[in-house]
Symmetry: C2
Subunit: 220 residues, 2 copies
C-alpha cells in the first residue's frame, strides 16, 4: 500500500485527541513535530515506548520539537492507559496529545499501517511509524517499524539533533554521528565558501581519488 | 510522492550492479536483505556510511542478512569510489554489490528519492533509504533519512537482532531494547500458552489498570 513519504505534505486533518479536537497543521504551527503511531493501548511495547518518549519531552521542547501520538483506540481508552504508562516509567508524564483513530482512516492517510498485524477483532492496526515533520508541514525523515519492534528514542533524538544542525549551519552529519562530533561540509559548498562559512577551519580527508569532497568541521 | 511501504513486495527489477546484472528477487533469495540507497558517489556522508556498513558485513552474514547498495552513479564511478571508501574506513571491504541507477528509475520504484536534493546537473538524487526485506520479498522495516543525515549502523543492527528474535521466539522487543535484555510477550499469546512457550518463566508488570499485558521474558 503506497503511502506518504519524504517531502510529502502531511494532510491537514481534523483529529480527536486527548487534548481536544485539533487541525493537524494548526498543531504543527511553526515547530518541527514528531507524529508517531503505536499499534494499541494496553499493549506491551507501546507502553514502554510512550513512557520513554514522555521522559524525553523536556529535551524535545528545548529543541523546539512538538510531539503527537496516535492509535486506533478511543479517547477514553487513551486516558485510562496513560495511568499505566506513567506508572511503568517513573518520572514520565504524558503531556503530549494522543490522536484517537477508531475508524482507521488517519493511519491510512499518514502511512502508519502495519499490514501484517490485526487486533483481536480482525481490524487493521497501526505500525510503529514516526514522521519528523517540518514547520512547512513536509516530512523530513521517517521510521517505519513493524508492531513487533520497539523504536529507539536515542536514535530519534540523534536525528533531531542532526536536522537542527543541518538547518542552522548548512552541514550534513556522517554515519553514526553524535552531538559533539565533527560534521561534514556538503559538496554544494566550494572550498572558498567553506572557508568563509567556517572560520574555525576544516579538515579534508586525503583519499585515493585525490578528490577533496570529504571535509570535516566542528560546529559546536 | 507515494511509494513502497511496509508490507509491500519490492519489485523484481533487473539491475546493473558492481557484481554484474541481477534480478533483485534472485539476489534476495531466501535471505533477509538490506537494500540501501545513498545520494551519490564521491560525496562525504555516503563515504562514511558505506565504509561502516562494510565493516559490519561479517556480523550481517552471521545473522543471515545480505546487503545491496544503490546510487544513481554508473558502475565505473562505483568501482573507483570503492577505493576511497575502503581507504577512509580501515578494515572495510566493500564486498556487497552496488546498483547503478543512472536513469533514476529504480529509486522511484523503491521509494528512495530525496525530493529536496538535486545533483550538480539538476537531477534527482536518492535519499538515505534503507529497507529490510524478508525472504518473502516484502518490506519489514524502513528507514527514510534525507541526504543530510547519515544513518546509524548500530540501530540497523539492533532492529535486525529484533526481527530475528521475533521470527524465532514469537516475541516483540520493547523501546530501546538491546540483545541480552528481556523481550515482551505479545498480547496474542495467552498466559497459559506463554507458560508453555517460555518454561524459563516470565514476569508480569503490576499496572494501575490491573491488566496483565506487560510480560517480560528472557530468550537469550
Amino acid at each position: 500500500m503506497p503511502g506518504l513519504t519524504l517531502g510529502d505534505t502531511v494532510p491537514n486533518i481534523h483529529v480527536d485527541t486527548t487534548h481536544g479536537r485539533i487541525w493537524l497543521h494548526d498543531y504543527i504551527g511553526d515547530s518541527t513535530t514528531i507524529i508517531f503511531s503505536h499499534p494499541g493501548d494496553f499493549t506491551p511495547v507501546c507502553t514502554t515506548e510512550l513512557g520513554k518518549i514522555a521522559k524525553y519531552k523536556q529535551e524535545f521542547e528545548e529543541k523546539g520539537v512538538k510531539l503527537i501520538g496516535l492509535s486506533c483506540d478511543d479517547l477514553q481508552s487513551h486516558k485510562e492507559w496513560i495511568k499505566d504508562i506513567e506508572a511503568f516509567t517513573p518520572g514520565s508524564k504524558v503531556t503530549y496529545p494522543i490522536i484517537a483513530d477508531p475508524n482507521r482512516e488517519i493511519i491510512k492517510q499518514l502511512n502508519m499501517v502495519d499490514p501484517d498485524e490485526k487486533d483481536s477483532s480482525g481490524n487493521q492496526v497501526p505500525s510503529r511509524a514516526l514522521h519528523i515533520v517540518g514547520p512547512d508541514k513536509k516530512i523530513k525523515l521517517s521510521f517505519l517499524y513493524p508492531a513487533c519492534t520497539g523504536r529507539n528514542m536515542e536514535e530519534v533524538m540523534r536525528v533531531v539533533e542532526s536536522l537542527n544542525r543541518v538547518c542552522k549551519y548548512k552541514i550534513a552529519t556522517p554515519v553514526d554521528w553524535k552531538p559533539g562530533e565533527p560534521v561534514v561540509i556538503p559538496p554544494s559548498v566550494s572550498d572558498e565558501d567553506a572557508s568563509k562559512m567556517f572560520p574555525q577551519g576544516y579538515d579534508t580527508a586525503d583519499l585515493p581519488s585525490k578528490k577533496r569532497y570529504l571535509r570535516f568541521v566542528h560546529v559546536d
